[in-house]
Amino acid sequence: MATIRNRRQVLPGFRFTLGFTVLYLSLIVLIPLAGLVVKTAGLTLPQFWDTVTSARVLASYRVSLLTAFFAALVNVVFGLLVAWVLVRYRFPGKKIVDGLIDLPFALPTAVAGIALTAIYAPNGWIGSLLEPLGIKVAYTPLGISVALVFIGLPFVVRTVQPVLQELEKDTEEAAVLLGAYRWRTFRKVLLPELVPPLLTGFALAFSRGIGEYGSVVFISGNMPMKTEITPLLIITKLEQYEYSQATAIALVLLLISFALLLLINSLQRWTNRRLRSA
């Protein structure tokens, strides 16, 4: 109670909304996830450790983390660009492009995986163009990243877009009146406001990428130690009826994502507060 500052007295609905949030969160997310922990607890500590640090599992973390990181990075740069163009400029077909951004959510991941593999396989539209250049996309880590860029794009665009839309012209106007150059305006005035949604977008795209399965298995080739992603190893464990080992690996994956999200959320709130007090 003491932590709730005076604002609480001003605006209504705190208890109700927070109560509902926590209740719903618990029912849909936390209790089911607790099942994961309970199941993993069936392993002894050494068993758990052996499972999550075996050579193949470690190699798969590397593949999953690196490809997801790379894909999220691509999405932050190009996602911002796309959002910017969609919000600020006029060009023919803009509404269509705006609508297309959501497609990766609507298309089942397996379909996306099959379509992307068809495009980037050595006999595909783009794959056949890249082949003579010595660039292989399908069945390499690059292919995994391509799939994850597809999966993650809406996360970045749709988090940045509304904020960009709401950014009031006034801030910019003031900056220009003060004589700032365009690029400087962007860097000093707009970018700080865009950092929180960009960070969020990055974190979401990244953590979604780590866990993605459906689209990746088609394009990755699934070679052990090279292009085997961690979710595939979870499936492999299930296939051997090793439920607790599967949940153990899942738990590690979950903790990595959770730590990353927590870090970025904290960072973001910190920058936010600093901005507001400045």
Partner: protein, 361 residues
Amino acid sequence: MRNLKSIRLLVVVALIVSVLSACGGGKNNEGSASPSGSQGASPSAGGKVPKSVELLNVSYDPTRELYAAFNKSFAEHWKQETGQTVKINQSHGGSGAQSRQVLDGLDADVVTLALAYDIDALADKGLLKSDWQNAFESNSSPYTSTIVFLVRKGNPKGIKDWDDLIKKGVQVITPNPKTSGGARWNYLAAWGYALKQNNGDEAKVKEFMKQLFDNVPVLDTGARGATTTFVERKIGDVLLAWENEAYLAKKEYGDAFEIVTPSLSILAEPPVAVVDKVVDKKGTREVAEAYLKYLYTPEGQEIAAQNFYRPRLQEVADKYKDQFPELNLLTIDADFGGWKVAQAKHFADGGTFDQIYTKGS
């Protein structure tokens, strides 16, 4: 003011109700779903023959076409015999995944899977008797298959036998034995061949397997994924596949492919079983058993053969003998000590398959 408060109260109540109904939605839906699911149960308790009955057959991936045809034939047969309408629902997927679903509560009356190991897993949890494999003739496997090679037209790499698969420059497509039941048969067939060639020297066999998998550029998770990689993406020179899958691919894609039968392969016995716990609950034992028995009749065997499964019944086998060339076949029980042993030795973590990828390379 009062108005607002009551609205707020109303919304709160509505929210709680909707949340509860979301969780309890199961109950309501279940209420409407279970009668249809257990149609067999309640009337049989009443002693009258129910007008219609539903069966769920949980099967593995390559049997889709087989059971689509077989279900139709059985439904007609059952209608004639008993006057009862039987509706057979089908579920297909990877053999292991399907077995797990049944383990976790999918109400399968019968399972028709790729390996006995996956049905053993159900027996371990008490869903059926541990001697289930004696319930029907021929190890409860009404049809068999084997592993053959699918190559591109004209067989440009001249692939004739397992030896040719480890040659430099030959690309082999097989799914991942860790995730695909079919791929386990592929692996064991290759292993069995190498074992024979090297007079039982396992070190040499492992070397052979390593060379073989060095030639594998893509490990799809399932048999159909591997077929797509080979056929649609045009990757690889040879696809290791079920005989029935190879024929089906050839049928679907015309003459772009040829089937090569190696000198030695493995006898794949996809077993069938009635899930005791489910049929006793639903009261569908009679029809479930009749369903599986029908697989052994000339009609059932004919349908199996038409879908490129090797029939057990001699008269049908004779009729289709051009389709199924004779070859030497290893068996899982005689040559590999049964599925439990084979699974532990080759496909469990740290088994011979894992060693290919974790040692050295």
